[in-house]
């Protein structure tokens, strides 16, 4: 179970994390085969577990640069089932758009997953339970969270690789904003903004720590992200069981210095590994797959 089941370990007492990078030229490539190979290397412990895939769905998007691509989601579902997962559901609570089904239909998710009333949970309107936050970085002392997330055995954060106009980048950790339900916090979930985005990211991820992360960087977004930027064909999938390591690796692939990203710095204290020497790189190297992202002027200082 993801909620409150993972120890918060200080950096000096942590074993290294493994992160896999694989080049994927486009969504017509063999995404399913490539992701299966990545997961075989990483061996996430999902046998007989209920797996919840948390993609990043924000708004309808004709250019395919805002939302996690359905090809990647289907590939993850199939791979986790092959690894012995008891069940796999897709769940998301979009932050800007109340019409979740509208986003799913624009994405044509049904074409990839089948009827959505059986395979998808709208986290914005799921039943909620109040849980205390495990860290108190923000003024939020507790959160109302969907029971579907709290009950899942294994939570997988599946973000898009994007820039973000408030915090620099949005990856596996920031993606967890989507588990916070609109039915309690609104559209957008403005309470989190007022509590401090970076601090809220830490509190959410310490409370429901993603067990695994798969980043869709096949086409990401640069510039004025997370919704008004421009497409960036990074051509990578990145995966690992430590969301901090995955995010730090993605930041390096984006030509950024993760240590200069506020929320990653905070998360590295308690939630995972950020230094390169603490990350075992599988698959391809950062150097061979790095494609620097254009950044807004406000975030030039986080570039390498």
């Amino acid at each position: 179970m993801s909620y409150s089941n993972t120890r918060l370990v200080p950096p000096f007492n942590r074993s290294p994390s493994a992160v896999a990078i694989r080049s994927v030229s486009n969504y017509a490539a063999d995404v399913e085969g490539i992701l299966w190979e990545m997961l075989q290397e990483l061996r996430p412990p999902v046998r007989d577990k209920s797996v919840l895939l948390k993609p990043n769905f924000v708004e309808p998007d004709t250019e395919g640069m805002i939302n996690t691509h359905p090809v990647v989601i289907r590939a993850a579902r199939e791979a986790f089932l092959r690894l012995g997962a008891k069940s796999v559901v897709v769940a998301e609570g979009p932050g800007h758009e109340r019409d979740t089904e509208g986003i799913l239909e624009e994405l044509r998710l049904r074409d990839y997953l089948g009827p959505l009333e059986q395979s998808f949970i709208d986290l914005n309107t799921d039943e909620v339970a109040q849980v205390g936050t495990r860290t108190r970085a923000s003024r939020l002392k507790s959160l109302f969270l969907p029971k579907a997330v709290l009950a899942a055995d294994f939570v997988v954060s599946m973000p898009k690789m994007k820039t973000h106009h408030w915090v620099g980048v949005t990856l596996a950790l920031k993606n967890m904003f989507g588990i916070v339900p609109g039915s309690c916090y609104g559209w957008p979930k403005n309470v989190l903004h007022w509590a401090g985005i970076s601090k809220s990211i830490l509190d959410i991820n310490s409370t429901v720590r993603p067990d695994f992360a798969i980043v869709d960087g096949i086409v990401g977004m640069e510039g004025n992200g997370p919704i008004q930027g421009t497409p960036k064909a990074s051509g990578v999938l990145v995966a690992g069981d430590d969301p901090v390591s995955v995010d730090a690796t993605c930041a390096r692939l984006m030509g950024l210095v993760p240590e200069r990203i506020d929320y990653l710095q905070r998360a590295a204290l308690l939630l995972g590994n950020m230094p390169e020497e603490k990350i075992e790189q599988l698959g391809e190297s950062i150097a061979s797959t790095r494609k620097p992202f254009e950044m807004l002027p406000a975030f030039q200082q986080i570039r390498a």
Binding site: H96, R98, D99, E101, R110, L116, S183, G186, W194, Q228
Partner: protein
């Protein structure tokens, strides 16, 4: 105290042609009512304010709705009201501005002993200001090196929740409520808040027409309008149909209508275009197709909006409605 403020006269003009779709979605709603009188966001989930308010608003307009369904729903809403007058969001514990406006509106639509609840709810909304725009907030903004969003923060409406910023949809819901409250029951300063909220909505319109959640320009880039905020802003501003921003918004909505792929957006867009005299056809067929796709993801609000769109224009958003006295 009277038996209720009495907003009874929902329009029935367009309900003379009954088709299965007209009955189907209300039947689903009725079947999904919990034994405590309320509705959850999906059938079987615990009752919460928003789906209960939408269901009540949808079913109230139908003659076929048994009184006990409506009465038990109103009872649930009255019992759910918090001490200070607000209604809780889905947490059951924390107040929500948007759900408070919707609960008041739903109770206002019924005969019954709800006047006290409505007045307390409306007073709470009227006294609840968003967090942005005060002196300290403006000072902090001035000290920031860069401005991400460009809008007039002095124009304040309502946030989704207390102590957060103004956004389009909760402002529109509150505005529609205040417009419908009889003058004699309007809280002090309500007129001022109505005027400011209308200005705020116009300030937040996206360049080129329509509204998004509430940031029309981010780093100078025009925001992309979305259906739901556009619908509710247009309905809240329905008394200004000739205003250029309204005209642009309606045109944007009309152009998007045929390409909509989901029942919630389709139903809301249809309802709005009907209020503006621009209703499109094929609603029933398309809603039926959409139901076949994903069963609306079992969304109770979507079923309620579909029911409303297939019926007549509710009087609380009729273009001529000002307040109960004018009906």
């Amino acid at each position: 105290m009277s038996a209720g403020i009495g907003l009874y006269a929902f329009s029935t003009e367009e309900r003379d042609i009954h088709t299965p779709a007209h009955d189907f979605f209300p039947d689903l709603l009725r079947a999904a009512q919990n034994t405590d009188g309320g509705w959850g966001y999906r059938p079987g989930l615990p009752s919460t304010t928003e789906p209960t308010a939408w269901s009540l608003l949808a079913l109230q307009a139908l003659e076929a709705s048994p009184g006990k369904i409506l009465d038990s729903a109103a009872d649930w809403l009255r019992q759910a009201q918090m001490t200070g007058g607000a209604w809780p969001n889905a947490s059951g514990k924390e107040p929500g501005c948007w759900v408070s406006a919707l609960a008041c509106l739903a109770l206002l639509s019924l005969k019954g002993p709800s006047q006290d609840a409505i007045v307390r709810g409306t007073n709470w909304l009227n006294e609840t200001w968003p967090a942005e725009g005060n002196f300290l907030w403006r000072l902090r903004q001035q000290q920031q090196a860069h401005t991400v969003v460009h809008q007039d923060h002095g124009l304040r409406g309502w946030g989704w929740t207390p102590n957060t910023a103004s956004w389009v949809e909760p402002t529109a819901y509150a505005l529609i409520l205040l417009q419908n409250i009889p003058t004699r029951h309007r809280p002090s300063h309500a007129v001022k808040r109505i005027q400011m909220a209308e200005k705020m909505l116009y300030d937040r319109a996206c360049p080129g027409g329509g509204w998004n959640a509430g940031n029309p320009l981010v780093y100078g880039v025009p925001g992309v309008p979305r259906i739901s905020p556009t619908v509710w802003a247009l309905l809240a501003l329905r008394h200004h149909q000739d205003h250029a921003v309204n005209v642009e918004g309606v045109e944007w909505l009309r152009q998007r209508y045929q390409s909509l792929r989901s029942p919630a957006s389709l139903a809301l867009a249809h309802l709005c275009l009907k209020v503006y005299g621009r209703a499109e056809n094929l609603l029933e067929t398309r809603l039926g197709d959409f139901y076949g796709n994903n069963q609306f993801l079992q969304s109770i609000p979507a079923m309620a909006w579909a029911s409303m769109a297939l019926g007549g224009v509710p009087c609380w958003i009729e273009s001529s409605s000002q307040s109960i006295e004018a009906i």
